[in-house]
Symmetry: C3
């Protein structure tokens, strides 16, 4: 039995997530179900895609990743499953699965047209319960992806905005603000490592932050840049929220400067 | 081993829920425990009852549903278990179990007077830990309901407020606002289907919303009415919060109008 | 297989907690993982220590308790495991484990220096994923504590502030505010019981609260003192938030008075 992960914008105050787990418990008893997060901002498909991209690599092979950020529920958007070399992805075909799936070798894409794997009489408003949970339970129990519906050639893909080389340096942006107010940029740390013989700083909101190894290396009251756990450059404050200090949010521009180091 | 569900107003910032799960893990090792929600507003017994009503049908047979919204903890209110044809319900006898249990065929009601199934020296403030979790663990492990205490004939029942026929149409009210700001009314969709040859609109806060099949059918900036996943008519906005647009909350009045359709 | 508990300040909006569970599912398949709480205020080590102190006694023997409130991550602070007579504790050596571990008989302390039990190439910002989750999985799977690194003699200890005897009575303070606005003091209920032949009141913010058995014994609009589920005196309001009524927070002073009772 594979494990199932859940990524949604349902929050935890309503019983939506519990109901999905009930459906899974009924159809795949004993299956381990793990919440990635249910705190995706309502209908923010990109935020859901980024969370799943970040989380998926840390789950066991053959994990079934369900993501439901689904403003188009009940409309013409497809419901799909994607099989990759490492895992299975289930959700609406609106891009929410795309970053995580595309980071692995995609093998099969299927539109979830075989309604015998869904709950009877599905609603037009809660496919998490009526379609995605029962399909995930079927996959976790060993049903092959092919059985779930008709093959597809493609799926809707999102892309993380790419940094742009400008006169002043590389212009990037904030793609995620975490609970601590740390600001993840779209500047990959690997890119930086290639430039490691130069001193790197990031300018954001008129302030400058230099590279440090860990949060504790940031002087109090100042900002620093770390290579974060996700492989991106991140702007952080010492024991404080960089987001609050800078009034920064997703989309805030940053500029990366490189200066030759001495020697 | 049955699964256990938990519905409380404990929130997730305090360790209350984790402690209940510790007690269950000690007494029913390997039992699957599923959170319905812990985000019931503090001491809002009706909200807890509605969440459990909504969720319970989706869990496996013989599930043990624990609900703890319990302003009377430590006082004279009874602690009870209710056995129905499909499931078991455990909690205070203040109505929090009543909507979900009454929706199934009730077989047995027991006051939880057999203290050997409780933790020793129970507190007067946390029966979730001291009474309901260990009793749920006993039930999930196969202890018969009868063993838990003395039989009762009745339990405290809540009722969902019924719509009223008025001069202008059927007058109902909002019974739940979900994370997305969608407004669940007390108007059942089945009731509407019986009237399906007429065009239906709902008036709320001076605005009119017409029936749509799914959220995507609502024009931007407007409101629509869907038959929601729970079987009720729900007022929603397109990619926005109807609750914010209308400043609506639980208890806000709505009026359903029926007009004969052409042909 | 032991169960694993998690106590962090990660919140539930980011995928941090889900990722830790992915690592555990990979390395200790089938292990039961229970959230104590992820709602510890960011970087509030004492709040994390108190939550774990409160929760740990209710978990099965040999539970592996992971606590990650870790402002010093990536810096010189040690990562440790502590074995006690009843359980295992894993986290940064900054005191977050100390209250719960010291409440049991400590047997062994180990610095987590054996990197073969960590993820390869650990980040400097997320040891929950890279160090503590895989170490917990190893412990839950039966790896002896000794194998994880080098023995230590001590660990960083926090202490709950002790009440002080003053002219007006015993001066204590609020150590926790729960979701309901109930105020846990640092005055132990056992201490009170020793003084049980005297009438006890607590003064806070100019108001006086008398002892009651349960919340329901508090007259509406007033305050009362209960012996709470954690063994401390707690100031509560009837069906309302004492914290809001008193504008009280952690650290707010309280004074306990004892008057001889009649007879």
């Amino acid at each position: 039995m594979s494990c199932i992960t859940l990524t949604t914008d349902f929050g935890l105050a309503d019983p939506f997530v519990g109901v999905m787990k009930g459906v899974i418990a009924e159809r795949a008893p004993g299956c381990t179900v793990i919440d990635v997060t249910h705190g995706i901002p309502p209908q923010d498909v990109m935020a859901g895609a980024l969370a799943l991209l970040q989380a998926a690599p840390y789950f066991p092979d053959r994990a079934v990743h369900v993501a439901v950020v689904d403003p188009g529920v009940g409309g013409p958007r497809l419901a799909i499953a994607i099989e990759t070399e490492r895992a299975l992805f289930v959700g609406p075909d609106n891009g929410v699965l795309s970053l995580a799936a595309a980071a692995q070798a995609v093998r099969r894409i299927v539109a979830l047209t075989e309604t015998r794997f869904h709950l009877p009489c599905p609603s037009a408003t809660f496919h998490g319960r009526d379609v995605f949970a029962p399909v995930a339970a079927a996959l976790a129990s060993g049903t092959p992806v092919d059985a779930l519906g008709t093959p597809r050639e493609t799926f809707v893909r999102l892309t993380i905005p790419a940094p742009v080389e400008g006169m002043q340096g590389t212009v990037g942006e904030i793609i995620h603000v975490d609970r601590f107010g740390n600001l993840t940029t779209n500047l990959s740390a690997a890119r930086l490592i290639a430039a490691s013989r130069r001193e790197v700083t990031i300018v954001i909101g008129g302030r400058t932050a230099g590279m440090v190894v860990s949060y504790q290396d940031i002087p109090r009251g100042e900002l620093g840049v770390v290579a974060n756990s996700w492989g991106y450059l991140e702007i952080a404050a010492r024991d404080a929220s960089a987001a609050e200090m800078l009034r920064a949010a997703r989309g805030t521009r940053v500029t990366l400067h490189r200066a030759p180091t001495d020697g």
